[in-house]
Symmetry: C2
Subunit: 248 residues, 2 copies
Amino acid sequence: MLNDPSLSVTQTCGDCPIRHRAVCARCETDELEQLDQIKYYRKYEAGQTVVWSGDRMEFVGSVVSGIATLTQTMEDGRTQMVGLLLPSDFVGRPGRGNAAYDVVATTDLVMCCFRKQPFEDLMNKTPHIAHRLLEMTLDELDAAREWMLVLGRKTAREKIASLLSIIARRDASLHLRSAEGQLVFDLPLTREAMADYLGLTLETVSRQISALRKDGVIHLEGKRHVTVPDMERLLEEAGDDADGGMLA
Amino acid sequence: MLNDPSLSVTQTCGDCPIRHRAVCARCETDELEQLDQIKYYRKYEAGQTVVWSGDRMEFVGSVVSGIATLTQTMEDGRTQMVGLLLPSDFVGRPGRGNAAYDVVATTDLVMCCFRKQPFEDLMNKTPHIAHRLLEMTLDELDAAREWMLVLGRKTAREKIASLLSIIARRDASLHLRSAEGQLVFDLPLTREAMADYLGLTLETVSRQISALRKDGVIHLEGKRHVTVPDMERLLEEAGDDADGGMLA
DNA sequence: GACCCGCTTTGACCCAGATCAAGAATGGCA
DNA sequence: TGCCATTCTTGATCTGGGTCAAAGCGGGTC
Protein backbone atom coordinates (compact mmCIF):
# COMPACT_ATOMS: atom_id res chain seq x y z
CA MET A 1 0.00 0.00 0.00
CA LEU A 2 2.72 2.43 0.94
CA ASN A 3 5.81 2.13 -1.18
CA ASP A 4 7.07 5.72 -1.29
CA PRO A 5 10.27 5.68 0.81
CA SER A 6 9.92 9.39 1.57
CA LEU A 7 6.86 8.61 3.66
CA SER A 8 8.23 6.43 6.41
CA VAL A 9 5.80 6.03 9.29
CA THR A 10 8.68 6.54 11.68
CA GLN A 11 8.90 10.24 10.97
CA THR A 12 7.46 12.43 13.71
CA CYS A 13 4.50 14.70 13.15
CA GLY A 14 6.90 17.63 13.29
CA ASP A 15 8.59 16.26 10.20
CA CYS A 16 5.30 15.80 8.42
CA PRO A 17 5.63 17.09 4.87
CA ILE A 18 2.49 19.19 5.33
CA ARG A 19 3.22 20.52 8.81
CA HIS A 20 2.98 24.19 7.76
CA ARG A 21 -0.81 24.08 7.91
CA ALA A 22 -1.23 20.92 9.96
CA VAL A 23 -3.18 20.64 13.17
CA CYS A 24 0.01 19.96 15.09
CA ALA A 25 1.72 23.21 14.17
CA ARG A 26 1.82 24.41 17.79
CA CYS A 27 2.08 21.10 19.64
CA GLU A 28 4.57 20.28 22.38
CA THR A 29 6.92 17.33 21.98
CA ASP A 30 4.82 14.90 23.99
CA GLU A 31 1.68 15.85 22.07
CA LEU A 32 3.52 15.30 18.82
CA GLU A 33 4.44 11.82 19.99
CA GLN A 34 0.81 11.10 20.78
CA LEU A 35 -0.19 12.32 17.33
CA ASP A 36 2.49 10.14 15.76
CA GLN A 37 1.02 7.09 17.49
CA ILE A 38 -2.35 7.49 15.77
CA LYS A 39 -0.98 8.67 12.44
CA TYR A 40 -0.77 6.58 9.27
CA TYR A 41 -0.60 7.16 5.54
CA ARG A 42 -3.13 6.13 2.89
CA LYS A 43 -2.66 5.99 -0.85
CA TYR A 44 -5.32 6.21 -3.53
CA GLU A 45 -5.06 5.94 -7.29
CA ALA A 46 -6.42 8.56 -9.64
CA GLY A 47 -10.15 8.04 -9.97
CA GLN A 48 -10.59 6.10 -6.74
CA THR A 49 -13.30 7.20 -4.33
CA VAL A 50 -11.99 7.91 -0.83
CA VAL A 51 -15.45 7.94 0.79
CA TRP A 52 -19.02 8.02 -0.45
CA SER A 53 -21.44 10.60 0.84
CA GLY A 54 -23.31 9.15 3.80
CA ASP A 55 -20.72 6.47 4.55
CA ARG A 56 -19.15 6.15 7.94
CA MET A 57 -15.81 7.96 8.00
CA GLU A 58 -13.39 6.54 10.52
CA PHE A 59 -10.55 8.98 10.05
CA VAL A 60 -9.61 12.61 9.57
CA GLY A 61 -6.45 13.82 7.91
CA SER A 62 -4.60 16.06 5.50
CA VAL A 63 -3.69 15.75 1.86
CA VAL A 64 0.08 15.17 1.53
CA SER A 65 0.31 15.02 -2.26
CA GLY A 66 -2.15 14.88 -5.13
CA ILE A 67 -5.62 16.33 -5.49
CA ALA A 68 -8.98 15.27 -4.12
CA THR A 69 -12.41 16.77 -4.66
CA LEU A 70 -15.59 17.07 -2.60
CA THR A 71 -18.69 16.54 -4.71
CA GLN A 72 -22.46 16.66 -4.31
CA THR A 73 -24.80 14.92 -6.74
CA MET A 74 -28.55 15.30 -7.31
CA GLU A 75 -30.74 12.30 -8.12
CA ASP A 76 -30.85 13.21 -11.80
CA GLY A 77 -27.06 13.27 -12.04
CA ARG A 78 -26.33 16.99 -11.89
CA THR A 79 -23.16 17.37 -9.85
CA GLN A 80 -21.51 20.29 -8.10
CA MET A 81 -18.01 20.24 -6.74
CA VAL A 82 -17.98 21.94 -3.33
CA GLY A 83 -14.33 21.64 -2.45
CA LEU A 84 -10.94 21.21 -4.06
CA LEU A 85 -8.44 19.59 -1.71
CA LEU A 86 -4.82 20.43 -2.43
CA PRO A 87 -1.75 19.37 -0.43
CA SER A 88 -2.02 20.56 3.20
CA ASP A 89 -5.84 20.73 3.16
CA PHE A 90 -7.74 19.00 5.94
CA VAL A 91 -10.42 16.37 5.33
CA GLY A 92 -13.12 15.13 7.64
CA ARG A 93 -14.79 16.59 10.67
CA PRO A 94 -14.29 15.73 14.28
CA GLY A 95 -17.62 15.04 15.94
CA ARG A 96 -19.31 13.86 12.77
CA GLY A 97 -19.76 10.20 12.03
CA ASN A 98 -20.66 10.28 8.35
CA ALA A 99 -19.26 11.95 5.28
CA ALA A 100 -21.51 14.67 3.85
CA TYR A 101 -19.96 14.56 0.37
CA ASP A 102 -18.26 12.20 -2.04
CA VAL A 103 -14.50 12.49 -1.69
CA VAL A 104 -12.69 11.44 -4.87
CA ALA A 105 -8.99 11.22 -5.68
CA THR A 106 -8.58 13.17 -8.91
CA THR A 107 -4.90 12.35 -9.23
CA ASP A 108 -2.84 9.78 -7.37
CA LEU A 109 -3.25 10.81 -3.76
CA VAL A 110 -1.42 10.41 -0.46
CA MET A 111 -3.14 11.35 2.76
CA CYS A 112 -1.82 11.63 6.30
CA CYS A 113 -4.62 10.27 8.47
CA PHE A 114 -5.47 10.12 12.15
CA ARG A 115 -7.90 7.56 13.49
CA LYS A 116 -10.99 9.49 14.42
CA GLN A 117 -11.72 8.49 18.00
CA PRO A 118 -8.15 8.86 19.31
CA PHE A 119 -7.83 12.15 17.44
CA GLU A 120 -10.97 13.49 19.09
CA ASP A 121 -9.74 12.35 22.48
CA LEU A 122 -6.47 14.14 21.88
CA MET A 123 -8.32 17.23 20.68
CA ASN A 124 -10.36 17.27 23.87
CA LYS A 125 -7.18 17.26 25.93
CA THR A 126 -5.20 19.81 23.89
CA PRO A 127 -7.15 23.02 23.31
CA HIS A 128 -4.87 24.48 20.66
CA ILE A 129 -5.67 21.58 18.32
CA ALA A 130 -9.33 22.56 18.57
CA HIS A 131 -8.32 26.17 17.92
CA ARG A 132 -6.29 25.20 14.90
CA LEU A 133 -9.24 23.24 13.54
CA LEU A 134 -11.55 26.17 14.15
CA GLU A 135 -9.16 28.43 12.25
CA MET A 136 -8.96 26.00 9.35
CA THR A 137 -12.72 25.57 9.27
CA LEU A 138 -13.21 29.34 9.21
CA ASP A 139 -10.77 29.52 6.28
CA GLU A 140 -12.76 26.88 4.45
CA LEU A 141 -15.96 28.76 5.17
CA ASP A 142 -14.46 31.92 3.69
CA ALA A 143 -13.35 30.00 0.62
CA ALA A 144 -16.83 28.49 0.23
CA ARG A 145 -18.44 31.92 0.47
CA GLU A 146 -15.97 33.39 -1.98
CA TRP A 147 -16.97 30.58 -4.31
CA MET A 148 -20.66 31.43 -3.88
CA LEU A 149 -19.90 34.79 -5.50
CA VAL A 150 -18.16 32.99 -8.36
CA LEU A 151 -21.09 30.60 -8.88
CA GLY A 152 -23.85 33.15 -8.46
CA ARG A 153 -22.61 36.25 -10.20
CA LYS A 154 -19.60 35.71 -12.45
CA THR A 155 -19.60 35.09 -16.21
CA ALA A 156 -18.16 31.91 -17.69
CA ARG A 157 -14.92 33.72 -18.60
CA GLU A 158 -14.57 35.17 -15.11
CA LYS A 159 -15.27 31.77 -13.60
CA ILE A 160 -12.45 30.15 -15.57
CA ALA A 161 -10.07 32.97 -14.67
CA SER A 162 -11.04 32.64 -11.00
CA LEU A 163 -10.33 28.93 -10.97
CA LEU A 164 -7.00 29.38 -12.74
CA SER A 165 -6.07 32.09 -10.22
CA ILE A 166 -6.75 29.82 -7.28
CA ILE A 167 -4.82 26.91 -8.72
CA ALA A 168 -1.93 29.14 -9.78
CA ARG A 169 -1.77 30.76 -6.35
CA ARG A 170 -1.91 27.51 -4.42
CA ASP A 171 0.56 25.88 -6.77
CA ALA A 172 2.96 28.80 -6.51
CA SER A 173 2.88 28.70 -2.71
CA LEU A 174 3.80 25.01 -2.84
CA HIS A 175 6.52 24.95 -5.46
CA LEU A 176 7.72 28.53 -5.90
CA ARG A 177 8.57 27.65 -9.49
CA SER A 178 7.97 30.94 -11.22
CA ALA A 179 10.39 32.22 -13.82
CA GLU A 180 10.72 36.02 -14.21
CA GLY A 181 7.25 36.69 -12.78
CA GLN A 182 5.56 34.04 -14.91
CA LEU A 183 3.57 31.28 -13.27
CA VAL A 184 3.72 27.79 -14.74
CA PHE A 185 1.64 24.84 -13.64
CA ASP A 186 -0.27 21.76 -14.75
CA LEU A 187 -4.03 21.72 -14.55
CA PRO A 188 -4.90 18.93 -12.12
CA LEU A 189 -8.50 18.68 -13.36
CA THR A 190 -10.25 17.48 -16.52
CA ARG A 191 -12.49 19.94 -18.34
CA GLU A 192 -15.45 18.09 -16.90
CA ALA A 193 -14.20 18.44 -13.31
CA MET A 194 -13.60 22.15 -13.91
CA ALA A 195 -17.16 22.42 -15.23
CA ASP A 196 -18.50 20.70 -12.11
CA TYR A 197 -16.61 23.14 -9.94
CA LEU A 198 -17.75 26.20 -11.86
CA GLY A 199 -21.38 25.29 -12.53
CA LEU A 200 -20.77 25.17 -16.29
CA THR A 201 -20.71 22.52 -19.02
CA LEU A 202 -17.44 21.06 -20.23
CA GLU A 203 -17.99 22.58 -23.68
CA THR A 204 -18.23 26.07 -22.22
CA VAL A 205 -15.09 25.46 -20.16
CA SER A 206 -13.23 24.40 -23.29
CA ARG A 207 -14.45 27.40 -25.28
CA GLN A 208 -13.52 29.90 -22.58
CA ILE A 209 -10.07 28.42 -22.10
CA SER A 210 -9.54 28.72 -25.85
CA ALA A 211 -10.72 32.32 -25.71
CA LEU A 212 -8.33 33.19 -22.87
CA ARG A 213 -5.52 31.57 -24.86
CA LYS A 214 -6.40 33.53 -28.02
CA ASP A 215 -6.45 36.74 -25.98
CA GLY A 216 -3.01 36.01 -24.54
CA VAL A 217 -4.16 35.84 -20.92
CA ILE A 218 -2.73 32.33 -20.65
CA HIS A 219 -0.48 30.15 -22.78
CA LEU A 220 -1.16 26.43 -23.25
CA GLU A 221 1.22 23.59 -24.06
CA GLY A 222 -0.80 20.48 -24.70
CA LYS A 223 -4.14 20.41 -22.90
CA ARG A 224 -2.96 20.75 -19.34
CA HIS A 225 0.30 22.70 -19.10
CA VAL A 226 -0.46 26.36 -18.43
CA THR A 227 1.72 29.47 -18.38
CA VAL A 228 0.37 32.70 -16.92
CA PRO A 229 2.50 35.55 -18.31
CA ASP A 230 0.81 38.22 -16.18
CA MET A 231 -0.93 37.29 -12.96
CA GLU A 232 -2.40 40.80 -12.57
CA ARG A 233 -4.11 40.41 -15.90
CA LEU A 234 -5.56 37.05 -14.90
CA LEU A 235 -6.93 38.52 -11.66
CA GLU A 236 -8.52 41.34 -13.63
CA GLU A 237 -10.19 38.81 -15.90
CA ALA A 238 -11.43 37.03 -12.77
CA GLY A 239 -13.19 40.22 -11.71
CA ASP A 240 -11.18 40.42 -8.49
CA ASP A 241 -9.62 43.42 -6.89
CA ALA A 242 -6.09 43.40 -8.26
CA ASP A 243 -4.62 43.87 -4.78
CA GLY A 244 -6.92 42.04 -2.39
CA GLY A 245 -8.12 38.96 -4.19
CA MET A 246 -9.33 35.52 -3.33
CA LEU A 247 -8.87 34.31 0.21
CA ALA A 248 -8.80 30.63 -0.71
CA MET B 1 -30.58 52.21 22.31
CA LEU B 2 -32.21 49.39 24.21
CA ASN B 3 -35.80 50.08 25.10
CA ASP B 4 -37.34 46.63 24.90
CA PRO B 5 -38.14 45.68 28.51
CA SER B 6 -37.99 41.97 27.65
CA LEU B 7 -34.25 42.34 27.09
CA SER B 8 -33.03 43.38 30.50
CA VAL B 9 -29.26 43.12 30.80
CA THR B 10 -29.72 41.55 34.21
CA GLN B 11 -30.90 38.26 32.77
CA THR B 12 -28.30 35.51 32.90
CA CYS B 13 -26.93 33.87 29.80
CA GLY B 14 -28.87 30.77 30.73
CA ASP B 15 -32.05 32.83 30.30
CA CYS B 16 -30.92 34.11 26.93
CA PRO B 17 -33.83 33.87 24.48
CA ILE B 18 -31.58 32.12 21.98
CA ARG B 19 -29.80 29.76 24.34
CA HIS B 20 -30.81 26.61 22.46
CA ARG B 21 -28.03 27.11 19.93
CA ALA B 22 -25.90 29.54 21.89
CA VAL B 23 -22.24 29.07 22.70
CA CYS B 24 -23.07 28.79 26.38
CA ALA B 25 -25.35 25.77 26.01
CA ARG B 26 -23.03 23.55 28.07
CA CYS B 27 -21.54 26.07 30.44
CA GLU B 28 -21.31 25.73 34.22
CA THR B 29 -22.86 28.34 36.47
CA ASP B 30 -19.65 30.29 37.04
CA GLU B 31 -18.89 30.35 33.33
CA LEU B 32 -22.39 31.63 32.63
CA GLU B 33 -21.75 34.45 35.08
CA GLN B 34 -18.55 35.33 33.30
CA LEU B 35 -20.39 35.34 29.97
CA ASP B 36 -23.08 37.56 31.47
CA GLN B 37 -20.45 40.09 32.47
CA ILE B 38 -19.29 40.63 28.89
CA LYS B 39 -22.73 40.34 27.31
CA TYR B 40 -24.82 43.20 26.00
CA TYR B 41 -27.60 43.77 23.51
CA ARG B 42 -27.54 45.83 20.34
CA LYS B 43 -30.44 47.04 18.25
CA TYR B 44 -30.47 47.96 14.59
CA GLU B 45 -33.23 49.29 12.41
CA ALA B 46 -34.25 47.68 9.13
CA GLY B 47 -31.78 48.71 6.46
CA GLN B 48 -28.97 49.65 8.84
CA THR B 49 -25.53 48.22 8.19
CA VAL B 50 -24.10 46.35 11.18
CA VAL B 51 -20.53 46.25 9.81
CA TRP B 52 -18.89 46.98 6.51
CA SER B 53 -16.62 44.45 4.88
CA GLY B 54 -13.05 45.19 5.95
CA ASP B 55 -14.00 47.16 9.03
CA ARG B 56 -12.71 46.26 12.44
CA MET B 57 -15.27 44.13 14.28
CA GLU B 58 -15.03 44.44 18.04
CA PHE B 59 -17.68 41.91 19.00
CA VAL B 60 -19.13 38.50 18.26
CA GLY B 61 -22.68 37.47 19.03
CA SER B 62 -25.95 35.85 18.08
CA VAL B 63 -29.10 37.12 16.44
CA VAL B 64 -31.89 37.33 19.00
CA SER B 65 -34.68 38.57 16.75
CA GLY B 66 -34.92 39.86 13.20
CA ILE B 67 -32.91 39.00 10.11
CA ALA B 68 -29.45 39.99 8.97
CA THR B 69 -27.60 39.14 5.78
CA LEU B 70 -23.97 38.62 4.81
CA THR B 71 -23.19 40.13 1.42
CA GLN B 72 -20.27 40.37 -0.99
CA THR B 73 -20.10 43.03 -3.68
CA MET B 74 -17.92 43.33 -6.79
CA GLU B 75 -16.56 46.68 -7.95
CA ASP B 76 -19.18 46.92 -10.70
CA GLY B 77 -21.99 46.45 -8.20
CA ARG B 78 -22.90 42.81 -8.71
CA THR B 79 -23.73 41.43 -5.28
CA GLN B 80 -24.05 37.95 -3.86
CA MET B 81 -25.54 37.16 -0.51
CA VAL B 82 -23.42 34.52 1.23
CA GLY B 83 -25.33 34.09 4.45
CA LEU B 84 -28.78 34.58 5.90
CA LEU B 85 -28.71 35.12 9.66
CA LEU B 86 -31.87 34.11 11.45
CA PRO B 87 -32.50 34.14 15.20
CA SER B 88 -29.95 31.95 17.05
CA ASP B 89 -27.30 32.27 14.29
CA PHE B 90 -23.81 33.32 15.30
CA VAL B 91 -21.99 36.32 13.81
CA GLY B 92 -18.31 37.14 13.80
CA ARG B 93 -15.24 35.05 14.19
CA PRO B 94 -12.95 34.71 17.14
CA GLY B 95 -9.35 35.26 16.11
CA ARG B 96 -10.24 37.54 13.20
CA GLY B 97 -9.98 41.27 13.49
CA ASN B 98 -11.90 42.42 10.44
CA ALA B 99 -15.23 41.58 8.91
CA ALA B 100 -14.99 39.72 5.61
CA TYR B 101 -18.50 40.68 4.44
CA ASP B 102 -21.07 43.41 4.75
CA VAL B 103 -23.51 42.56 7.53
CA VAL B 104 -26.87 44.29 7.02
CA ALA B 105 -30.01 44.29 9.14
CA THR B 106 -32.80 43.35 6.74
CA THR B 107 -35.53 43.78 9.35
CA ASP B 108 -35.32 45.41 12.75
CA LEU B 109 -32.67 43.41 14.51
CA VAL B 110 -31.61 42.61 18.07
CA MET B 111 -28.27 40.96 18.69
CA CYS B 112 -26.79 39.46 21.84
CA CYS B 113 -23.13 40.45 21.71
CA PHE B 114 -19.95 39.61 23.56
CA ARG B 115 -16.96 41.91 23.51
CA LYS B 116 -14.40 40.16 21.38
CA GLN B 117 -11.26 40.12 23.52
CA PRO B 118 -12.92 38.96 26.75
CA PHE B 119 -14.87 36.38 24.79
CA GLU B 120 -11.68 34.99 23.27
CA ASP B 121 -10.04 34.89 26.69
CA LEU B 122 -13.00 32.99 28.06
CA MET B 123 -12.94 30.66 25.05
CA ASN B 124 -9.28 29.90 25.72
CA LYS B 125 -10.11 28.91 29.29
CA THR B 126 -13.26 26.89 28.57
CA PRO B 127 -12.69 24.26 25.86
CA HIS B 128 -16.33 23.40 25.30
CA ILE B 129 -17.01 26.92 24.07
CA ALA B 130 -14.38 26.36 21.39
CA HIS B 131 -16.00 23.02 20.60
CA ARG B 132 -19.41 24.59 20.33
CA LEU B 133 -18.01 27.21 17.96
CA LEU B 134 -16.32 24.54 15.87
CA GLU B 135 -19.62 22.67 15.64
CA MET B 136 -21.48 25.81 14.60
CA THR B 137 -18.82 26.70 12.05
CA LEU B 138 -18.99 23.21 10.57
CA ASP B 139 -22.77 23.60 10.29
CA GLU B 140 -22.31 26.89 8.49
CA LEU B 141 -19.78 25.29 6.17
CA ASP B 142 -22.26 22.55 5.30
CA ALA B 143 -24.95 25.14 4.66
CA ALA B 144 -22.58 27.12 2.42
CA ARG B 145 -21.70 24.00 0.43
CA GLU B 146 -25.33 23.03 0.11
CA TRP B 147 -25.90 26.51 -1.25
CA MET B 148 -23.11 26.04 -3.80
CA LEU B 149 -25.21 23.25 -5.33
CA VAL B 150 -28.21 25.58 -5.45
CA LEU B 151 -26.21 28.36 -7.12
CA GLY B 152 -24.28 26.17 -9.53
CA ARG B 153 -26.77 23.59 -10.72
CA LYS B 154 -30.39 24.41 -9.93
CA THR B 155 -32.94 26.10 -12.20
CA ALA B 156 -34.61 29.36 -11.21
CA ARG B 157 -37.75 27.54 -10.06
CA GLU B 158 -35.73 25.08 -7.98
CA LYS B 159 -33.75 27.93 -6.47
CA ILE B 160 -36.90 29.71 -5.29
CA ALA B 161 -38.32 26.47 -3.90
CA SER B 162 -35.01 25.81 -2.09
CA LEU B 163 -35.03 29.24 -0.47
CA LEU B 164 -38.66 28.93 0.59
CA SER B 165 -37.91 25.49 2.08
CA ILE B 166 -35.08 26.84 4.16
CA ILE B 167 -37.06 29.79 5.45
CA ALA B 168 -40.13 27.65 6.12
CA ARG B 169 -38.07 25.09 7.99
CA ARG B 170 -36.20 27.62 10.10
CA ASP B 171 -39.36 29.55 10.80
CA ALA B 172 -41.25 26.41 11.79
CA SER B 173 -38.53 25.40 14.23
CA LEU B 174 -38.79 28.82 15.88
CA HIS B 175 -42.53 29.33 16.10
CA LEU B 176 -44.16 25.94 15.59
CA ARG B 177 -47.15 27.74 14.12
CA SER B 178 -48.35 25.19 11.60
CA ALA B 179 -52.05 24.43 11.24
CA GLU B 180 -53.04 20.92 10.07
CA GLY B 181 -49.67 20.28 8.39
CA GLN B 182 -49.62 23.64 6.60
CA LEU B 183 -46.73 26.01 7.08
CA VAL B 184 -47.40 29.72 7.26
CA PHE B 185 -44.77 32.43 7.40
CA ASP B 186 -43.80 35.91 6.26
CA LEU B 187 -41.01 36.34 3.75
CA PRO B 188 -38.34 38.36 5.55
CA LEU B 189 -36.66 39.40 2.29
CA THR B 190 -37.46 41.69 -0.61
CA ARG B 191 -37.49 40.18 -4.10
CA GLU B 192 -34.17 41.88 -4.70
CA ALA B 193 -32.60 40.32 -1.59
CA MET B 194 -33.90 36.93 -2.66
CA ALA B 195 -32.37 37.49 -6.08
CA ASP B 196 -29.02 38.36 -4.48
CA TYR B 197 -29.14 35.19 -2.46
CA LEU B 198 -30.07 32.99 -5.43
CA GLY B 199 -27.87 34.51 -8.13
CA LEU B 200 -30.90 35.68 -10.13
CA THR B 201 -32.52 38.98 -11.07
CA LEU B 202 -35.47 40.32 -9.13
CA GLU B 203 -37.70 39.98 -12.20
CA THR B 204 -36.97 36.27 -12.45
CA VAL B 205 -37.66 35.84 -8.73
CA SER B 206 -41.01 37.56 -9.14
CA ARG B 207 -41.95 35.48 -12.17
CA GLN B 208 -41.04 32.16 -10.53
CA ILE B 209 -42.93 33.00 -7.35
CA SER B 210 -45.96 33.79 -9.52
CA ALA B 211 -45.50 30.47 -11.32
CA LEU B 212 -45.31 28.50 -8.05
CA ARG B 213 -48.45 30.28 -6.90
CA LYS B 214 -50.31 29.48 -10.14
CA ASP B 215 -49.27 25.84 -9.82
CA GLY B 216 -50.58 25.67 -6.26
CA VAL B 217 -47.22 24.91 -4.66
CA ILE B 218 -47.59 27.96 -2.43
CA HIS B 219 -50.36 30.40 -1.61
CA LEU B 220 -49.73 34.13 -1.27
CA GLU B 221 -51.57 36.78 0.70
CA GLY B 222 -50.19 40.17 -0.19
CA LYS B 223 -46.59 40.07 -1.34
CA ARG B 224 -44.95 38.56 1.68
CA HIS B 225 -47.34 36.26 3.55
CA VAL B 226 -46.83 32.68 2.36
CA THR B 227 -48.73 29.46 3.00
CA VAL B 228 -47.19 26.13 2.05
CA PRO B 229 -50.02 23.59 1.80
CA ASP B 230 -47.68 20.64 1.20
CA MET B 231 -44.09 20.77 2.36
CA GLU B 232 -43.24 17.50 0.55
CA ARG B 233 -44.31 19.07 -2.72
CA LEU B 234 -42.15 22.12 -2.09
CA LEU B 235 -39.12 19.94 -1.36
CA GLU B 236 -39.75 18.04 -4.59
CA GLU B 237 -39.82 21.33 -6.48
CA ALA B 238 -36.54 22.24 -4.80
CA GLY B 239 -34.96 19.12 -6.29
CA ASP B 240 -34.13 17.72 -2.86
CA ASP B 241 -34.53 14.23 -1.60
CA ALA B 242 -37.99 14.23 -0.04
CA ASP B 243 -36.71 12.56 3.13
CA GLY B 244 -33.18 13.89 3.72
CA GLY B 245 -33.13 17.45 2.53
CA MET B 246 -31.23 20.61 3.24
CA LEU B 247 -28.96 20.64 6.22
CA ALA B 248 -29.17 24.36 6.73
C1' DG C 1 2.26 1.46 -37.25
C1' DA C 2 -2.62 0.95 -37.08
C1' DC C 3 -6.22 0.96 -33.94
C1' DC C 4 -8.76 2.33 -30.02
C1' DC C 5 -10.41 4.98 -26.18
C1' DG C 6 -10.88 8.79 -23.21
C1' DC C 7 -10.36 13.57 -23.41
C1' DT C 8 -10.88 17.85 -25.83
C1' DT C 9 -12.19 21.17 -29.36
C1' DT C 10 -15.30 23.33 -32.46
C1' DG C 11 -19.63 24.24 -34.93
C1' DA C 12 -24.79 25.04 -35.31
C1' DC C 13 -28.73 25.87 -33.01
C1' DC C 14 -31.80 26.71 -28.98
C1' DC C 15 -33.73 28.29 -24.69
C1' DA C 16 -33.76 29.85 -19.70
C1' DG C 17 -33.04 33.69 -17.69
C1' DA C 18 -31.26 38.62 -18.32
C1' DT C 19 -32.40 43.14 -19.83
C1' DC C 20 -35.32 46.92 -20.92
C1' DA C 21 -39.65 49.07 -20.16
C1' DA C 22 -44.21 50.06 -18.48
C1' DG C 23 -47.53 49.81 -14.99
C1' DA C 24 -49.84 48.20 -10.65
C1' DA C 25 -50.05 47.30 -5.72
C1' DT C 26 -48.87 48.76 -1.13
C1' DG C 27 -48.20 51.63 2.63
C1' DG C 28 -46.50 55.68 5.16
C1' DC C 29 -47.58 60.38 5.88
C1' DA C 30 -49.59 64.92 5.61
C1' DT D 1 -58.13 61.31 1.45
C1' DG D 2 -54.90 61.76 -1.61
C1' DC D 3 -49.92 61.87 -2.66
C1' DC D 4 -45.51 59.87 -3.23
C1' DA D 5 -42.02 56.42 -2.89
C1' DT D 6 -41.08 51.86 -2.64
C1' DT D 7 -41.73 47.33 -4.03
C1' DC D 8 -43.60 44.21 -7.06
C1' DT D 9 -45.61 42.30 -11.43
C1' DT D 10 -45.87 41.55 -16.20
C1' DG D 11 -44.67 41.99 -21.13
C1' DA D 12 -41.33 42.12 -25.12
C1' DT D 13 -36.99 41.19 -26.66
C1' DC D 14 -32.14 39.75 -26.44
C1' DT D 15 -28.18 36.81 -25.38
C1' DG D 16 -24.83 33.85 -22.78
C1' DG D 17 -24.32 29.56 -22.10
C1' DG D 18 -26.59 24.92 -22.76
C1' DT D 19 -27.47 21.09 -25.97
C1' DC D 20 -26.59 18.18 -29.71
C1' DA D 21 -23.39 16.54 -33.02
C1' DA D 22 -19.10 15.70 -35.24
C1' DA D 23 -14.36 15.78 -35.61
C1' DG D 24 -9.41 16.19 -33.64
C1' DC D 25 -5.99 14.78 -30.67
C1' DG D 26 -2.56 11.97 -27.80
C1' DG D 27 -0.81 8.08 -25.92
C1' DG D 28 -1.33 3.25 -24.79
C1' DT D 29 -1.21 -1.49 -26.69
C1' DC D 30 -1.16 -5.32 -29.60
